[in-house]
């Protein structure tokens, strides 16, 4: 049997060598240093067609990460909201949410993406008669043109001091918890932290004299000047992924809340906790433990589903690797690159989540 396997792989390898030679295809990842010479419609980092394939791969990864991160945030927000509403006592509200969940889960995501893309490109007005919202956002079939804030160097300093504020908050929370354990009295940790973070963030901005320069898009035939453009491709994949993943997250959140024994809530209210405190101190800490693992799976699914962007022309990593594949013919390298990228992000997130679960697990006394 082993001989058979060796023979099989040997034959496959020989075929590969013959085929590559015949089609004049290079091997190895050397092509990453060559000039890519194709245009990418939107990028997070600077990119010119004269840059290398290595650079364009990076551009694709950034685009994937951009849509995955933004999509995850909005999917978690929407999913949590809908998940709570699935438990509403209001018959109409509950069933509207169930209809949304069932409708979206039982139709293919790629169909939904194509549908949103079609709505955004075919049913919005052309750039010449765009519809605007208060003169700051313009809706056109070439995407949304929004006002943007021009970056001033002091903003970077603000970002830095904001992180300083978060660092302070971390230590102050620990102190406040110890203080609470020791004396039984609570410090207004949240208010203090919030204030400190805001003040720290504002200081560099104030020193620079509150620079604020908003660039409003203005239509000068044949295009908008100023502001920034959100492409219909991005909008469609972002909207589609958010609406699709949110239905799964809603189910996860609902199951997490239902799993908490009723006695916990009753015990909490019987010692006089307000509804907010009940949520913060009793329900959420327990629900989070149940929710986090399946939620992570859903986020990873969103990340993998973002590859469907290729169907509507959003330049994500798969789409760019695919273009590269078509140009160079190096299928093995391009597909390996795709697999390694998605696999390593998935594994990294899984590892982080295992660590997190371990940290969050219930410590039995």
């Amino acid at each position: 049997m082993i001989v058979g396997i060796v023979l099989f792989f040997g034959l496959a390898r020989q075929n590969l060598v013959d085929n590559l030679e015949q089609r004049n295809i290079a091997t190895g990842f050397g092509f990453l240093a060559n000039e890519a010479s194709f245009i990418v419609s939107e990028t997070v980092i600077d990119y010119e067609p004269s840059d290398t394939y290595g650079r364009v791969f990076l551009v694709g990864m950034m685009n994937t990460i951009k849509v995955a991160v933004l999509g995850s945030i909005s999917a978690i927000l929407l999913g949590t909201f809908v998940g709570i509403l699935l438990l509403s006592k209001n018959w109409l509200l509950r069933n509207i949410c169930y209809s949304y969940v069932n409708l979206v889960r039982n139709t293919p995501l790629i169909l939904q993406l194509l549908f949103w893309y079609m709505l955004l490109t075919e049913f919005l007005p052309s750039i010449y008669d765009s519809v605007s919202f208060l003169g700051t956002v313009f809706f056109t079939n070439r995407g949304f043109y929004i006002s943007s804030i021009v970056i001033h160097s002091s903003y970077y300093w603000s970002l830095g001091t904001m992180f300083l504020g978060f660092g302070f908050a971390y230590f102050f929370n620990r102190y406040a918890n110890r203080h609470h354990d020791r004396t039984g009295r609570e410090l207004p940790a949240f208010t203090i932290n919030f204030t400190i973070i805001i003040i720290l963030t504002l200081i560099p901005w104030a020193i620079a004299g509150f620079p604020l320069n908003i660039s409003v898009p203005v239509f000068v035939t044949p295009d908008f000047l100023g502001g920034s453009n959100i492409s219909p491709e991005f909008l469609a994949i972002y909207l589609g992924l958010t609406l699709y993943t949110a239905t799964f997250i809603a189910e996860v959140v609902r199951a997490g809340i239902v799993a908490i024994p009723k006695g916990q809530v009753e015990a909490g209210s019987s010692i006089g906790l307000t509804p907010m405190k009940l949520l913060k101190l009793v329900i959420l800490p327990q629900a989070i433990r149940i929710i986090i693992p399946p939620l992570t799976n859903q986020i990873l699914n969103l990340f993998k589903n973002s590859t469907l962007a290729v169907a509507i022309g959003y330049p994500d990593f798969v789409s760019i690797a695919n273009t590269t594949l078509n140009q160079t013919g190096q299928a093995i390298e391009a597909i390996t690159a795709i697999m390694i990228f998605y696999l390593s992000v998935s594994l990294l997130v899984s590892l982080f989540m295992n660590w997190f679960n371990h940290k969050m697990r219930l410590v039995e006394r």
């Binding site: 034959l11 075929n15 590559l20 109409l92 039982n106 790629i110 169909l111 549908f115 079609m118 998935s346």
Partner: protein, 350 residues
């Protein structure tokens, strides 16, 4: 009458705040219907010879679906051989009706479906039946989706079970290691990458002149991908069988395969019917991804139909129509799996 009133009071208007929400929802739904119904029904064109009639009407153009129905159902399948494709749809419907009875859900069901799918393929291809040969590249539309989904389900299930058994096997660490790596790697990469592998990479490993049809390659990708997800579902079922069952089977002197086949798997698999059907539904939905490697399944055919220059601009109707088809299939299946699980579990109790 008073019952309805009490129900409404309790479920729609328990407090003022809830009442306001209820009213807001009613008006929202009303607004959507107010816009959707005239488009989809009142102003819609149901029959038309050409697209001009539709363009003037301003409503949905269902005539477009009607015009392109054969293409959406059968793709590029030759018109004079269409009766074979109709027969395939009939076989599929028969299979569905047969599977509708909870009594049919034994191991023989998989054999029945295997027989059905093989006959579907023979019928579509035709060579062995003495009919004109139709290459797989001409299969398309709903028929292609059915072939992809059914072969995918039939083969990925045993594959997934084997992977799960391999992963649960403590005594053969090499097999276990191989199964764990296959499952984790495939689950960590997007389905598209497997499809690309099947369509672009695999041909490089074959001797020149030796061609495996794209359909077969796509089916293999579906089986591998879906099998790994099924393996995780089955693993959950295996973990739910108590240790005593294993020990009892061993003390009877049953071999490994007898232990698994007669004692463990029947219990493990029936514990996870709902998630298993859930995986089948995702498989069915995921087959739409073959449009990316330019195959004309239901979605591919509908898209191609919508880009016909004589009927341009009716993609919306095509997508709504497809959404209805997929929804009808998947929603029914998921509802049905709940009943099935109840039936089978209650049967197993005594």
């Amino acid at each position: 009458m008073s019952n309805i009133f009490i129900w409404g009071r309790k479920n729609l208007y328990p407090t003022t705040g809830q009442g306001i929400i209820s009213i807001a929802i009613v008006s929202l739904v009303g607004l959507v219907l107010w816009n959707f119904l005239p488009w989809s029904i009142f102003n819609a064109v149901w029959v038309a010879d050409n697209s001009d009639v539709c363009r003037q009407a301003g409503g949905a153009c269902w005539a477009f679906i009607w015009e392109k129905l054969y293409f959406i159902l059968f793709g590029f399948y030759p018109a004079e051989e269409r009766w074979r494709a109709w027969l395939v749809l009939a076989l599929f419907l028969g299979g569905i009706l047969y599977s509708g009875r909870s009594k049919s859900w034994t191991l023989s069901l998989i054999v029945v479906w295997l027989g059905l799918v093989v006959s579907m393929m023979l019928l579509l291809n035709g060579t062995l039946l003495g009919l004109p040969t139709v290459e797989t590249s001409y299969w398309g539309g709903l028929v292609l989706t059915i072939i992809l989904a059914m072969t995918g389900i039939i083969f990925s299930y045993p594959f997934g079970v084997l992977l799960a058994l391999g992963r649960a096997n403590q005594r053969l660490p090499v097999i276990r290691g191989i199964c764990v790596s296959i499952i984790e790697i495939i689950r960590g990469v997007p389905f598209i990458s497997l499809l690309f592998m099947a369509s672009l990479m695999l041909p490089l490993f074959l001797p020149s002149g030796f061609v495996i049809p794209k359909l077969v390659r796509a089916i293999v990708a579906v089986i591998i991908f879906s099998g790994c997800y099924l393996a995780e579902t089955v693993r959950g079922g295996l973990a739910a069988v108590s240790r005593g069952q294993y020990e009892a089977a061993q003390s009877l002197g049953l071999s490994y395969w007898k232990t698994m086949g007669l004692v463990i798997l029947p219990q493990a698999l029936s514990k996870v019917i709902q998630p298993t059907v859930g995986s089948f539904i995702s498989l069915f939905i995921d087959t739409t991804l073959v449009v990316i490697i330019s195959m004309y399944d239901l979605l591919g055919a509908a898209r191609a139909a919508a880009s016909d220059s004589a009927w341009l601009g009716f993609a919306r109707e095509a997508y709504v129509f497809l959404a209805l088809i997929y929804f009808a299939f998947c929603y029914t299946l998921s509802k049905y799996s709940r009943r099935l699980e109840k039936d089978i579990l209650t049967k197993k109790v005594h």
